[in-house]
């Protein structure tokens, strides 16, 4: 792991306190950060990035970062990998103690949490400058808007984490079923698979597995619903959401969902795909590569399902890169990011396992086009993909952190997948949970 000098040791010291009490103590240390100057600082731009892909990702990413030659008078960049384990604590304690990065990626909603705390440097000027060099127009449609808050752009889209329908083409053929295109044909395919003792609605909602909840929200979004209204307030108990959850409960009741799904980790779910117990289901865009082998090559991305209302939609996560107010040079942060976005295509063309690219130019490369599943996701899912903010909007905001991997969402998901609850009652509980979380 690459590190950037004294920053890590100070964070490490803070981290040594450990546990809830210490973490809370660290959070109390936040005294607010001073905004970065215009430039001229000797301190480098600290870029913290996550392990987005396979083992080749971070070394290549570091190579790209360290190859940065800053314009005259602007600082160079340093690179540090931040592991996913406890990343929220890592970033929070670093930002609170003003030992954090100048630029970083992180959790998909992290920028909006920090933006509300005044820790983010808005990307408006950066994006404006990208109108002149072609980068702005290179972003896939609608992506940049997902980053827009009331006060400005909280971050820049970096990689897309999609939720899509997958099926095992061999198992579907053996069951004599056609790939589904709408909710009814999904039920039909599930019924056909069930006769072969195969589950048609593969998912996971156990320890650390949040895909189950993502897919429930995707059913809502696909039916024209979602969790938040136009005022960015939770609005869960709607006819569209109730209908969607009744559909899922029907799948549970008919035995199309593995009854242990509510306790499956991501690894458990992957095992079920590998052992051909899941013939169809929902997962991230990287499922086939993660499963690998013979089964992996049998996995195919299905088309988005059309709901009874005639609509389509899936939840997606526009992972992003954010700039922090506490930077040695805001100009330096922006110059580095411009360089980075102009030179990051290798991360996709050399298949490092990172999520889907945000730039059209990368999706058009022969290397990207060689993966039919990825091409299908970009062509069919990206245009209908919505964020947590749906149906009220698509731009993210702090309130969505109440839904993303929270106890309220876990409880809701496990209740639905357990099947022992009514759709309306589950949605009312979710509504209450989101309100409580947002209200503090």
């Amino acid at each position: 792991m690459s590190q950037s000098g004294f920053r890590l040791s100070r964070r490490g010291l803070l981290g040594a306190a450990g546990g809830v009490s210490a973490a809370a103590a660290l959070s109390a240390c936040g005294g607010g950060g001073s905004g970065g100057g215009g430039g001229g600082s000797d301190e480098p731009i600290a870029f913290w990035n996550m392990p987005w892909g396979n083992t080749e990702f971070n070394p290549m990413d570091e190579e790209i970062t360290l190859a940065y030659q800053p314009p005259e008078g602007l600082p160079p960049a340093t690179y540090q990998v931040v592991q996913w384990a406890n990343f929220t604590q890592t970033f929070s304690s670093a930002v609170a103690s003003r030992t954090g990065p100048a630029v970083s990626s992180g959790g998909g909603t992290q920028a909006f949490l920090f933006e509300a705390q005044g820790a983010i440097a808005y990307a408006d000027d950066l994006l404006e400058s990208w109108r002149g060099n072609g980068l702005y127009d290179d972003f896939l449609p609608g992506l940049i808007d997902t980053m827009k808050t009331e006060n400005g752009y909280a971050a820049v889209p970096y990689n897309l984490d999609m939720r899509v329908l997958w099926y095992n083409k061999t198992l579907l053929e053996e069951a004599g079923a056609e790939p589904p295109t709408d909710w009814q044909s999904f039920l039909d395919a599930c019924e056909a698979l069930k006769k072969n003792d195969v589950y048609g609605y593969g998912t996971a909602a156990g320890a650390g597995a949040y895909t189950g909840g993502h897919i429930l929200v995707s059913w809502m979004i696909g039916n024209g619903g979602g969790l938040f209204n136009a005022d960015q307030q939770p609005d869960c108990v709607t006819p569209a959401n109730i209908e969607a959850m009744e559909f899922v409960l029907e799948c549970v009741a008919k035995g199309y969902v593995d009854p242990a799904s509510a306790s499956y980790t991501s690894d458990n779910a992957q095992t079920q795909w590998e052992e051909r117990r899941f013939g169809m289901g929902f997962d991230t865009g990287g499922l086939a590569n993660n499963v690998g082998g013979e089964v992996g090559s049998d996995l195919v991305v299905g088309s988005p399902l059309t709901s009874p209302a005639g609509s389509q939609g899936m939840l997606f996560f526009p992972n992003n890169i954010m700039m922090y107010a506490d930077t040695p040079s805001q100009e330096g942060s922006e110059a580095f990011l411009t360089y980075y976005f102009q030179n990051m295509s290798r991360l996709w063309t050399e298949k490092t396992g990172i999520g889907l690219p945000p730039l059209r130019s990368i999706t058009e490369t022969p290397e990207f086009q060689s993966d039919e599943n990825n091409v299908k996701i970009i062509e069919e899912y990206q245009p209908i993909a919505r964020t947590w903010a749906a149906p009220g909007g698509n731009a993210l905001f702090q309130g969505v952190t109440a839904a993303d991997a929270t106890p309220a969402m876990d409880t809701f998901t496990q209740s639905i997948l357990g099947g022992d609850i009514e759709a309306r009652a589950a949605l009312e509980q979710l509504q209450q949970g989101l309100e409580d979380t947002i209200g503090g």
């Binding site: 660290l26 320890a207 095992t271 876990d410 409880t411």
Partner: protein
């Protein structure tokens, strides 16, 4: 006669001692007291992970103590702790007694029995997940083979609670075994011999000789294991994440999720402080019992 009897100042030796001790004292204050005090302050504020927030008095405590989630978690923590302490003690004591007898490769057994305690909990949790999580896992296959049907050890709320408690006993019994083995080793064999001469049965020897003579170590191990169980985060979080539907959410898991999933540091630290207070009370009660044993 001296003009006055004023107290003498510290000698050079005392000053040297104080100077030697000072770095340690400062480190302890810095690493222990400071975070606790800050956490205490945070529990009285409505802050977030990166901002201290406004002072709200005891509001976080009243919110926490009137929430259903807190009492559900308290209930599970109580069950988890009782099973963890007495389950691991019973198994540990039984094995310690068994290992007192001379059996072939006794040393090897001792080492093997220590493995659950020695192996990192991440590895143990992964192993247990493999054993019980899916219908194709060994335990569900066994239950199906003996006619109990396809048991969902982690997906059913009650079974998940049982599984987590059994897991806790499994990883904790080696510690109890060591404590009890050392206590048993300190008991003079002549005591047993005298009891046998007096006509005591095995059961009478165990209840009236063995247990009283190892009671001091027993109380110490109960105090320690109570603290271990109440504060045990990884055992639960790695196996179930607190689910399904919060069935295995202990107080420490609830506290963690409040702070790091819901970003509510005030209620999260308030839960932690309530836990700490409860632990102190339980520890004092057990410690008093320990002192009573010493006097007797």
């Amino acid at each position: 006669m001296p003009a006055h009897h004023g107290r003498r100042g510290p000698t050079a030796g005392t000053l040297t001692l104080i100077l030697f001790v000072m770095p340690s004292v400062l480190l302890i204050l810095l690493l222990n007291l400071y975070p606790v005090l800050y956490a205490g302050m945070q529990s009285l504020r409505d802050g977030s992970l990166i901002a201290a927030g406004d002072f709200v008095g005891l509001e976080n405590y009243t919110d926490v103590l009137t929430s259903e989630a807190f009492w559900d978690s308290t209930g599970f923590t109580l069950v988890f702790t009782l099973v963890g302490v007495f389950g691991s003690w019973a198994v540990g004591l039984a094995l310690a007694l068994l290992l007192r007898t001379k059996i072939p490769a006794g040393g090897l057994f001792k080492v093997l029995l220590l493995l659950p305690w020695v192996v990192p909990v991440v590895v143990s949790a992964t192993s247990w997940n493999w054993l019980v999580a899916t219908p194709q896992s060994p335990f569900p296959i066994i239950t199906e083979a003996i006619g109990l049907g396809r048991v969902l050890f982690l997906a059913d709320p009650t079974l998940a609670q049982v599984t987590v408690c059994v897991f806790k006993v499994w990883i904790s019994f080696p510690f109890m075994m060591m404590m009890m083995a050392s206590a048993l080793a300190a008991v003079d064999d002549n005591v047993y011999e005298a009891a046998r001469v007096d006509g005591a049965s095995r059961g009478q020897i165990f209840t009236h000789v063995t247990l009283p003579l190892i009671s001091r170590s027993t109380y110490i191990s109960w105090i320690l294991m109570t603290i271990f169980c109440v504060n045990d985060f990884p055992t639960i979080f790695l196996l179930t994440g607190g689910g399904p539907v919060n069935a295995t959410s202990s107080l420490v898991v609830l506290s963690y999720r409040k702070v790091f999933a819901e970003f509510q540091t005030g209620p999260g630290t308030a839960i932690a402080f309530v836990m700490t207070l409860t632990l102190v009370v339980v520890s004092v009660l057990l410690y008093r019992q320990l002192k009573k044993v010493n006097i007797e």
